[in-house]
C-alpha cells in the first residue's frame, strides 16, 4: 500500500513505508507544541496540493532535499496565482488514481475491526503488522502519512457549486469528499416554537462512495449522521433560528440541509461539519415582504432580485472534531486505516468561542474517564483553531465574486 501520487514527485515527498518491511522509521524528536492551525485552501484548478500530504518542516530530513523545496513553493503560492495548466490527461489520471485507492484490495490478515461492530462506517481491514506499525507511529506522534496527532489532512473547499440550491459547498478532506446543498423552503413552524424556523438534515450515502452503501446499506450511517447533526445544532446560538421566522405561528423558513457523501476516507463528521458551515455561509435566502389585504388575508411576496437576500450569520456554527483513540493516544482526522486500529472515538462539536455543543462516543469500545477529559480538551483546542482560517477563507472566496475560478467536480 502507499499513496497514489502524480508520477515522479511524491516518491520523494513521502518516504516509502510498507507494512511488514522493516524500513527505518523516522523518529520524531520534537517536543509537543500547540498544533499548527489546519490549512485550508480554496479548491483551485492545479491541485497539486492534494498529493503533497501536509508537508511538515519538522519531519526529519532523510536526504530528500526536494521536500523542503516543495513545501516552500507550495506555501508561497496563493490559490489565485496558481496556473490552471493541468492538462485534461492529468485530471483523468487523478480520477483513476483515486478510484484505485478506494478499491485497493484489503491485505489478507486478521480482522481488527472492533468485535461485532455494525458495518456502519466504510471500513478497511488492516493486518496485524500494519496495526503495530500504525500504533507505534502514533505513539511517537508521527502518523503513516507524516502528520502529527493533532493535524488535519489537507482541506479543500469550494462554495456555490450546485446552482439550483440556495447554498452549497463541496469539501474534500484527504480523500473524503462531501457535497452539501441547502434549500430554503417556506414551511409551517412547529406548534411548540411558533416564532422560529428550523433546520432539517438528510445524509445520503451514495453507493459511489463505497459499494457497502448500495441499496439500503448506507441508511444506518445516514440516520446516525443526521441525528448527530440535529444534536450539534440543537442550541440557541449556532444558527439564529428567530431570523428564519416570517410570521409567527404561520410561516417560517425551513432549511433543508442535504449532505451527499461522495467518497469515504475516514473522518466523515469533520468533513460534513465544515461543508455545512461553508454552505450555510453561502446560503442566500430571498427577502420576503408580507402584505395584508383589506380582509386580513396575508400574502407573501418573494423578492425577484437575486441580490436582495438575507445571509445567515455563521460565526457561531460549530465544527465537529473527531478524536480517535489509538493505543494510548488520540488522533485527529483519522484515516480509515487508523480508524481500524482504534477502539472508540469521541465526536465533539466546538464553536468558535470554544463551547462544546455536542459530544458523543462512537465505536464499540469504552474509554477511561481521564482520557475522555483529555480528548475533550484536545477537541476544544483543535476545534477552536479550525474556525478562524475557515472563516477567513470563506470571506476570501466570497470577495472574489465573479472573478472566482470555478473548479467543479473534475478539477
Amino acid at each position: 500500500m502507499g499513496w497514489e501520487s502524480p508520477p515522479g514527485i511524491s516518491a520523494q515527498a513521502q518516504p516509502h513505508r510498507s507494512p511488514g518491511s522493516c524500513s527505518p522509521r523516522p523518529r520524531c524528536s520534537r517536543c509537543r507544541s500547540p498544533p499548527p492551525p489546519p490549512r485550508f485552501r480554496r479548491a483551485s484548478r492545479g491541485r497539486w496540493s492534494v498529493w503533497k500530504l501536509q508537508p511538515r518542516a519538522e519531519l526529519p530530513k532523510t536526504g530528500l532535499g526536494s521536500r523542503e523545496q516543495l513545501c516552500g513553493r507550495r506555501d508561497n503560492k496563493t490559490p489565485q496565482s496558481q496556473p490552471g495548466s493541468v492538462s485534461l490527461a492529468v485530471c483523468v489520471c487523478v480520477c483513476l488514481a483515486r478510484l484505485r485507492w478506494v478499491r485497493l484490495p484489503a491485505p489478507v490478515g486478521r480482522v481488527l475491526a472492533p468485535s461485532g461492530t455494525r458495518s456502519i462506517m466504510a471500513t478497511v481491514r488492516v493486518s496485524e503488522a500494519e496495526k503495530v506499525y500504525i500504533l507505534h507511529g502514533i505513539r511517537d506522534d508521527l502518523r503513516v502519512d507524516g502528520r502529527g496527532c493533532e493535524d488535519y489532512r489537507h482541506v479543500e473547499i469550494e462554495t456555490d457549486v450546485v446552482s439550483n440550491t440556495d447554498g452549497s459547498a463541496k469539501v474534500t478532506l484527504g480523500h473524503t469528499a462531501v457535497l452539501v446543498g441547502i434549500k430554503a423552503d417556506i414551511g409551517k413552524p412547529t406548534p411548540l416554537i411558533p416564532n422560529e424556523g428550523y433546520l432539517e438534515f438528510f445524509v445520503d450515502c451514495s453507493a459511489n462512495a463505497t459499494p457497502e452503501f448500495e441499496g439500503r446499506g448506507g441508511d444506518e450511517l445516514g440516520t446516525e449522521l443526521s441525528n448527530t447533526l440535529y444534536k450539534v445544532f440543537n442550541n440557541k446560538h449556532s444558527v439564529d433560528l428567530k431570523s428564519l421566522c416570517i410570521s409567527a405561528g404561520e410561516h417560517c423558513w425551513v432549511l433543508y440541509v442535504d449532505v451527499l457523501l461522495l467518497q469515504c476516507d475516514g473522518n466523515l463528521y469533520d468533513a460534513i461539519s465544515i461543508a455545512i458551515k461553508a454552505a450555510l455561509f453561502n446560503t442566500k435566502i430571498p427577502k420576503v415582504h408580507i402584505s395584508a389585504d383589506e380582509e386580513g388575508a396575508k400574502e407573501i411576496e418573494l423578492s425577484d432580485d437575486p441580490y436582495d437576500c438575507v445571509r445567515l450569520n455563521v460565526e457561531n456554527v460549530p465544527c465537529i472534531v473527531t478524536l480517535c483513540k489509538v493505543g494510548h493516544r488520540h488522533v485527529v482526522d483519522a484515516t480509515l486505516q487508523e480508524k481500524a486500529c482504534s477502539v472508540a472515538s469521541l465526536i465533539i462539536s466546538v464553536t468558535n468561542k470554544g463551547t462544546v455543543t455536542c459530544t458523543r462516543k462512537v465505536g464499540g469500545g469504552s474509554l477511561d474517564p481521564e482520557s475522555i477529559f483529555e480528548m475533550t480538551q484536545a477537541g476544544k483546542r483543535v476545534g477552536k483553531a479550525l474556525h478562524a482560517p475557515l472563516m477567513k477563507l470563506l470571506r476570501q472566496e466570497e470577495s472574489l465574486g465573479k472573478k472566482r475560478q470555478k473548479v467543479g467536480f473534475l478539477g
Partner: protein, 274 residues
C-alpha cells in the same frame, strides 16, 4: 405519507388537547428545590425500583422504575445470527431495539419507529457492547429489546441500566454491569436524573451552559462506554458534568447489585433451603 394498512386507522389529523390549554402552565420552579423535592446541584438520583425476570418468554428481562419513568427490557438469545453476510463470524452480534409505547410521552407518539428511537437504539448499542463478552458467542446474536412504558425523563440512562441488568439476568457473559446516569445543565447549576419537564425546560436566562448529558459507565472497570451530550456547554462544565454522572452511577450500583443477587437467589436457591 403512505397509509398504514396494517393498523386500525383513525382520522387523518388530530391534535393533542394540551395545545389548546386556556391557562398557561404553572410557573417554573425556582432554584433550590425541584418539583419532586430533590435539590439542584446535588447528586440526587430518583429512588429506583428494579426487578429481574418479569417476562416469562425472554431469556432474561428487567423492569426498572425511577420516579415515573418505567422501562421493560427483554433479552433473547444467543441464537444463530440472521445476517449471514457478516464476514466476521468470530464474534457474536448484539442488536438493540428501543422503542416508546405510543402513550409513553405527554404527546402521543406514532407506532412507527422514528429516527429518534433509532438514534437511542444506536446509543444503547454503543454503550452496552463494550461490556458484553461477544467473543464468547461466535456466529450468534443477542437481542436486546427495550420498551419505554412511561417517559418521565432520563430515558436513555435508565434504558442502559435496565438493559445491562437484563443481559446479566439472561446469563450473558459480561465484563461488568453498565450503569447510566444523566444530568441537565442549566446555567451554573445542574439537576441529576432530570424529569421530562426538567429535561426540556429552558430557563429564560441566556446562559451559555445549557444542555443534557448522558454517561454510561462500567463501575468496576472504571470505563466510560457511552457519552452523549447536546445543547451548549463549556469544556469545564462538560468535564464536571461527566464526573457528576459517574458519581450518580456509583449511587445506583448497590441497588442494581442487590436486584441481581435477588434474581440469582430466586433462580437457584442456596442449598440450605432445599
Amino acid at each position: 405519507m403512505p397509509t398504514d394498512t396494517k393498523r386500525v386507522r383513525g382520522p387523518e389529523a388530530s391534535q393533542s388537547p394540551s395545545l389548546f390549554v386556556s391557562k398557561p402552565a404553572a410557573a417554573p420552579p425556582s432554584l433550590g428545590t425541584r418539583a419532586d423535592g430533590r435539590r439542584w446541584g446535588q447528586v440526587d438520583v430518583r429512588p429506583l425500583f428494579v426487578r429481574c425476570g418479569l417476562v416469562s418468554q425472554a431469556k432474561g428481562s428487567a423492569y426498572l422504575e425511577a420516579g415515573s419513568t418505567k422501562l421493560l427490557c427483554g433479552v433473547y438469545g444467543p441464537k444463530e445470527t440472521e445476517r449471514k453476510d457478516e464476514t466476521d463470524m468470530k464474534c457474536g452480534r448484539l442488536t438493540t431495539d428501543m422503542r416508546f409505547a405510543p402513550f409513553s410521552c405527554p404527546e402521543r407518539g406514532s407506532w412507527i419507529q422514528g429516527s429518534q428511537d433509532k438514534d437511542l437504539s444506536q446509543m444503547l448499542h454503543e454503550s452496552l457492547q463494550p461490556a458484553v463478552c461477544l467473543q464468547k458467542y461466535p456466529r450468534s446474536q443477542i437481542e436486546v429489546n427495550v420498551m419505554v412504558l412511561e417517559n418521565s425523563g432520563s430515558v436513555l440512562a435508565h434504558a442502559i441500566t435496565c438493559a445491562s441488568l437484563a443481559l446479566a439476568d439472561a446469563g450473558i457473559e459480561m465484563y461488568d454491569l453498565v450503569l447510566g446516569c444523566s444530568i441537565r445543565q442549566d446555567g451554573d447549576s445542574y439537576v441529576v436524573d432530570p424529569s421530562y419537564t426538567e429535561q426540556n425546560s429552558c430557563s429564560s436566562v441566556d446562559s451559555d451552559n445549557q444542555g443534557n448529558l448522558t454517561v454510561a459507565f462500567l463501575p468496576s472497570l472504571n470505563q466510560i462506554s457511552g457519552l452523549q451530550s447536546d445543547g451548549e456547554m463549556t469544556e469545564e462544565t462538560l468535564t464536571a458534568g461527566v464526573r457528576t454522572c459517574i458519581e450518580g452511577c456509583y449511587k445506583l450500583y448497590p441497588v442494581i447489585q442487590q436486584a441481581l443477587a435477588k434474581a440469582v437467589r430466586r433462580a437457584a436457591p442456596p442449598p440450605s433451603e432445599s
